[in-house]
């Protein structure tokens, strides 16, 4: 078993060890909290040339990373909340994502930008955003959302070793403390989507922490109703395996989409586009969609709990797809997904 935070720490360590030109910069990367444990003590191990704190300067830091990448270094930058990357949007969207194409292939910016999505314990409107759709709209970026330690162990070394373009990795704070089994098979999943659980009754396309939620829900509906949900971890937001998704939906005819952001102009929208592009007949009925409520994130616990899809709702969505509205299967008692992470109270 390997926690998500430790998977990050291992791959960060491995990246620095394997690549003399790799370095990590971000606010607080050399402090005792070590970006929630994902880079702890690496500054001591590799020195302040390789792992260093920076002033508050998101736009500048990202540009500095691009400059380093242009001369052959491999920069890794961190934002303890994805929301802060909006200060670096110009460098990410106008520069990093464009450089390779705009210069006809003679420039490259291989780099990894790590964003942590906040959730629960009153993160509020400015510490809770999950901007995968925003980034994935822009060609030139590779956007991933590792949902498990395995995804990190599989992808990060490959990204640092071989990927030639800028990668935005959106990590979820609630995953950091979870343990996952990891197979050391050395297999390298490409940066795309995969089936996290097989099933024949309904397809659940999920991202990030919602994959974990969907797996819990799948277990529940299997036990209570013998329903077999197939769960696809989208994993890559910019380059998912849409055929995999379409095949699954062709098989099940039913769809639940569970994402960490807003549904409007979000991942759910692109999933629908890809399906109707292939065949509008794939779906037997309207899909169910789970995401943040269409509002900024409220701080109050009572609102936060209904702002995010609960385990209750995830289960209900699956049941409703398979058995129809008004199914009479009992829902799980734990109402809020955050109950599953009851212990999350910081550190922030």
């Amino acid at each position: 078993m390997l926690s998500y935070a430790n998977a990050l720490l291992e791959t960060m360590d491995g990246g620095l060890a394997a690549h003399p030109n790799a370095f990590i910069m971000g606010q607080g990367v050399d402090d005792f909290k070590g970006i929630f444990g994902s880079v702890t003590d690496l500054a001591k191990k590799y020195g302040s040339q390789r792992v260093f704190d920076v002033p508050l300067m998101e736009e500048g830091m990202t540009g500095i990373a691009i400059g380093a990448a242009l001369v052959g270094d491999y920069p890794i930058t961190t934002h303890i909340r994805a929301d802060f990357s909006f200060l670096a949007m110009n460098q990410i969207l106008n520069l990093a994502s464009k450089y390779h194409y705009m210069f006809g292939g003679i420039m490259s910016c291989p780099m990894l930008i790590r964003l942590v999505v906040g959730r629960s314990w009153g993160q509020g409107a400015q510490h809770s955003q999950s901007p995968q759709a925003t980034f994935a709209h822009y060609p030139g970026l590779t956007v991933i959302m590792p949902a498990t330690s395995q995804a990190i162990v599989d992808m990060y070394p490959q990204i640092i070793n071989r990927h030639r373009g800028p990668v935005i990795s959106i990590e979820h704070r609630l995953l950091y403390n979870l343990d996952f089994s990891v197979s050391d098979s050395g297999k390298r999943v490409p940066l795309t989507s995969y089936v996290a659980r097989e099933g024949r009754d309904v397809t659940v396309v999920a991202t990030s922490v919602m994959v974990v939620e969907a797996l819990r829900a799948a277990q529940y509906v299997q036990e209570k109703a013998g329903i077999e949900a197939e769960i696809i971890d989208l994993n890559s937001i910019s380059h998912p395996d849409w055929d995999l998704v379409a095949e699954s939906v062709r098989k099940t005819g039913r769809l639940v989409i569970a994402d960490t952001s807003w549904l409007e102009y979000g991942v759910a929208a692109e999933v629908c586009r890809q399906l109707v592009l292939r065949d509008p007949g794939l779906l037997r009925s309207p899909p169910s969609m789970l995401g943040m409520a269409p509002a900024p994130c409220p701080t109050a616990k009572s609102l936060e709990d209904i702002y995010y899809p609960s385990q209750h709702e995830t289960v209900d969505a699956i049941l409703t797809q398979v058995r129809g509205v008004g199914h009479d299967i009992a829902l799980p008692t734990e109402k809020s997904m955050t109950e599953g992470y009851r212990r999350f109270r910081g550190p922030f």
Binding site: D31, P55, L87, G124, A300, L303, I306, G346
Partner: protein
């Protein structure tokens, strides 16, 4: 009691109120009734109190996530604050804001943002509007030392100087941005930096001294009201961890020496007699506010999708 004594007592009372409020927050925190990150100002109260007392009641303050002190100093209602921290309907913002986003527009606290440096331009914009409308109010941007590293600070100083905007920039210099000390983050000093834009400035090292803060702010505010931006940097000391209610000396990034030196000059620690004479009344106020919060209902589903646009 002469004027000066009375003034001191007033400032002291508000400072103590802030400290007791935050100490109450610390006590409450383990009960999980305040379910959100809290950034305490314990140690920094004199800045908020001295600054706000020097302002006109209708001057506007724009603050940060570390905003309890400015909220109280500017005159925000205590019950609405605790209810807000509790995430309840009786809160200033019905619980949607929480600790990081206190505001009290009725007394001139125009919002607090959890994104560092992000309200600095708001103060500039409000002040610029006052000037355009020949309104004699001024606006105050409150921010930490770390905030001055963000590019927007540079943009704001330039604009404020060019347009002669009546904005007062108040930097609460606690020497830290999370766990990073100022020298590893800044190659400049605020005063010389401000001077390059032709902006007058002052640094006050005695940030524990409410009267000194008040006087420095009065002088600065007078200049600002006359039509010039001003940068006032006030040294201060954060006793607690960056976020949360604990202490953090055992983590090794700083020692208690820094804060100990400060504490030896902290009126709220030194003047125990005054503390004890005021405490009962203030604790009573706080208890009422907490009781209000406890009674206040949580926002329900109807609130989830209201007030979006």
């Amino acid at each position: 009691m002469n004027d000066r004594d009375e003034l001191y007592r007033r400032l002291f009372r508000t400072s103590l109120l802030i400290r007791l409020v935050e100490e109450r927050v610390i006590e409450l925190y383990p009960s999980d009734r305040i379910q959100s990150p809290v950034h305490l100002s314990i140690g920094q109260e004199a800045v908020a109190v001295g600054v706000c007392d020097a302002l006109r009641a209708d001057d506007l303050v724009f603050a940060t996530y570390r905003s309890h002190a400015f909220y109280v100093a500017k005159g925000g209602r205590l019950d609405a604050m605790f209810a807000e921290l509790y995430g309840r309907m009786g809160g200033v913002s019905k619980g949607k804001a929480g600790s990081m986003h206190l505001s009290a527009p009725e007394v001139g606290l125009m919002g607090s943002s959890a994104v560092v440096a992000s309200t600095i331009p708001h103060a500039v914009g409000a002040a610029h509007s006052f000037k355009r409308r020949s309104d004699s109010r001024i606006a105050i941007a409150v921010f930490g030392d770390g905030a001055t590293e963000e590019g927007v600070y540079h943009e704001c100083l330039n604009f404020a100087a060019l347009m002669k905007v009546p904005v007062l920039f108040i930097c609460e210099d606690n020497g830290l941005a999370v766990h990073s000390h100022r020298p590893v983050r800044q190659s400049y000093t605020l005063q010389k930096h401000a001077a390059t834009f032709g902006i007058a400035s002052r640094r006050l090292d005695e940030g524990w001294d409410m009267l000194a803060v008040r006087e420095a702010t009065m002088a600065a505010a007078a200049k600002v009201r006359a039509g010039e931006p001003f940068v006032l940097e006030i040294a201060t000391s954060r006793y607690k961890e960056h976020v949360g209610t604990g202490e953090d000396f055992h983590f090794g990034y700083r020692t208690s020496d820094d804060t100990d030196a400060w504490k030896r000059r902290d009126p709220l620690i030194i003047d125990q007699q005054l503390v004890e004479s005021l405490r009962p009344e203030l604790e009573c106020e706080i208890a009422e506010a907490v009781a209000f919060a406890e009674r206040s209902p949580s926002p329900g589903r109807a609130e989830l999708l209201t007030d979006i646009i």
